[in-house]
Amino acid sequence: MSDLFVHGGARSDGRDDAMIRSHRTHSLWFAYLLHRLSGLGLAIFLPAHFYVLSLALTQPERLDGFLHWFEQPIVKFAEFGLVFLLAVHIFGGLRIMALEWLPWSANQKTLAASAVAGAFLISTTFFLQAI
């Protein structure tokens, strides 16, 4: 079984709840963490995104202002991050649903990795397009 996992070495960190504890240092757990963080990030970003868009209804000028602001590199980078999150989350989510509903396959690790890779590919494309 263990060939399924990229596994960190044994580490001593006691019964406190340190974030990365020895029993967690493997790829599937990181995939889980990534999925959770990306989901959380999206959930925080989404209302902001909606807010900005709804400005179109009330104050179109301000929306334009926002969109100019989006030209800033730092904001570009943030946008890249968000698309990255979305992509990571989608592919992660598809991986989870495949795992749950399709007959279980022995290359979970590969799937997890390719999900992240795919996410990177897409977001980088987006990023390059944007500048």
Binding site: L40, F50, A87, I90, E100, F126
Partner: protein, 110 residues
């Protein structure tokens, strides 16, 4: 926390969103190629039933999906449960829905 009803809701909404978000990203990649202006976006979307349904579906799905997702995270990390947790889930869902619907209306109506 997550019984089969909530689970199915979360998975089904995820399945609905997957093509929508991928489509959205694709459009954005195309759109941002030469700068993004309010006019451009609105041009494309306003008055379009198709875009209204596209984003409308997304908003409903994401409200349900994210509310359930946050519910799980809150329950597991803050050990919240029972009535408060249900209230939070509904609250989040309604906030997402409200803001989402406003945004969709803004970009697709008139």
């Amino acid at each position: 926390m997550l019984d089969i009803r909530l689970y199915m809701l979360q998975r089904i909404t995820a399945l609905i969103m997957a093509p929508l978000t991928l489509g959205h990203i694709a459009v954005m990649i195309y759109a941002v190629q030469d700068g993004l202006t309010a006019a451009e976006i609105l041009d494309r979307t306003q008055g379009s039933v198709m875009w209204f349904l596209f984003y409308g579906t997304f908003v409903i799905a994401v409200s349900v999906h994210a509310a359930i997702g946050l519910r799980v995270i809150v329950a597991e990390t803050l050990k919240l449960g029972g009535y408060a947790l249900n209230a939070l889930t509904w609250g989040l869902c309604l906030i997402f829905l409200f803001m989402g619907v406003r945004a969709v209306m803004a970009v697709t109506m008139l």
